[in-house]
């Protein structure tokens, strides 16, 4: 009995998802939601589509995670790479010389 109910549910969800724009369009709109305010119609379309589409749901969750990671990347990179990534000492010397030349009061 449980299996039948589950199958009916899955079928209904599939139908709901099919009644909305395709995954390709929904995926694009999910990405755009990070860059512009979506219209009410677009937001409803996405919500309904996500009710029946596990892949688009994962896609949205992954883009949210990616957004969080990207915003932390700059700080994390600076902190974790302090000992590893440094400007070449020869380039430093060259820049120091240039600064000295340009800055020396003459």
């Amino acid at each position: 009995m449980k299996k039948i109910v589950h199958k009916i549910n899955m079928g209904l969800m599939m139908l709901i998802a099919m009644g909305t724009p395709s995954c390709e369009i929904i995926g694009r709109k999910i990405s755009e939601s990070f860059d512009r305010p979506l219209t009410i119609k677009e937001r409803i379309q996405i919500k309904i589509h996500l009710l029946g589409c596990v892949f688009c749901l994962r896609y949205r969750d992954q883009l949210i995670k990616l957004h969080q990671m990207a915003s932390k990347l700059a700080d994390g990179f600076e902190q974790n790479k302090q000992d590893e990534i440094k400007l070449d000492p020869n380039i430093k010397l060259k820049i120091k010389e240039k600064i000295k030349t340009h800055h020396s009061p003459s």
Binding site: C23, E24, K92, K98
Partner: protein, 196 residues
């Protein structure tokens, strides 16, 4: 002049100390955003020289480091703008995600390429130090235009309208490039970091 030099020295803006104090930090800032070691070095050098020229404009409302980073940011955006039209490997196409195989003809996900379940949260992932390297590498693998707009939008948090203005592209082109970048990064992370 003596007053000027003393003022510079005592307030910590003596340019002769800049390289020791800020060069590594500026270089890391540049290398994260520029996929080219030599170019990153050049931009750091240009930043110091530009700062030197406009030293009298520095009002000390911010720290020297913040001021130098702001100059470097402008230089990076300038570089992006100049090189943007040369990036032929990432031209705008009707395919918004850059990989037609992700979807079937009817626009539904191709189940073999569809997103898999990720078991880690963003915070969990960031606890793992090596992940930064993975993310940086994934970023460097993106097509040039996508990488640049993603960097400005998601790493530096620049507004869409400002990016369009700086790079002279339409908002719809920006959205296509960002969507492509996000999908590319998502797939790269999934493949290299989330594999069971």
């Amino acid at each position: 002049m003596i007053f000027f030099l003393m003022h510079n020295h005592t307030s910590g803006v003596n340019p002769e100390n800049w390289v020791d104090l800020y060069a590594d930090s500026l270089y890391r800032f540049a290398i994260l955003r520029i996929n080219d070691k030599n170019l990153a070095q050049d931009l750091v050098q240009d930043t110091f020289l530009s700062a030197l020229k406009s030293l009298n404009k520095f009002k000390q409302k911010s720290t020297v480091q913040t001021w130098l980073i702001t100059i470097l940011k402008h230089k990076i955006v300038d570089h992006y703008r100049k090189s943007f039209t040369d990036d032929e490997n990432d031209t705008f196409s009707t395919s918004s995600n850059g990989d037609l195989n992700d979807y079937l003809e009817n626009g539904m996900w191709n189940t073999e390429k569809a997103p898999r379940k990720w078991h880690k949260t963003a915070d969990d992932i960031f606890e793992e130090k090596e992940f930064l390297e993975t993310l940086h590498q994934c970023l460097s693998l993106l097509p040039e235009q996508s990488r640049k707009v993603f960097s400005l939008r998601e790493i530096d948090g620049m507004k869409s309208i400002e990016i369009c203005k700086e790079l002279n592209i339409s908002t719809s082109n920006l959205w296509v490039l960002l969507h492509r970048a996000r999908n590319g990064l998502r797939k790269c992370i999934e493949k290299t970091w989330m594999a069971p």
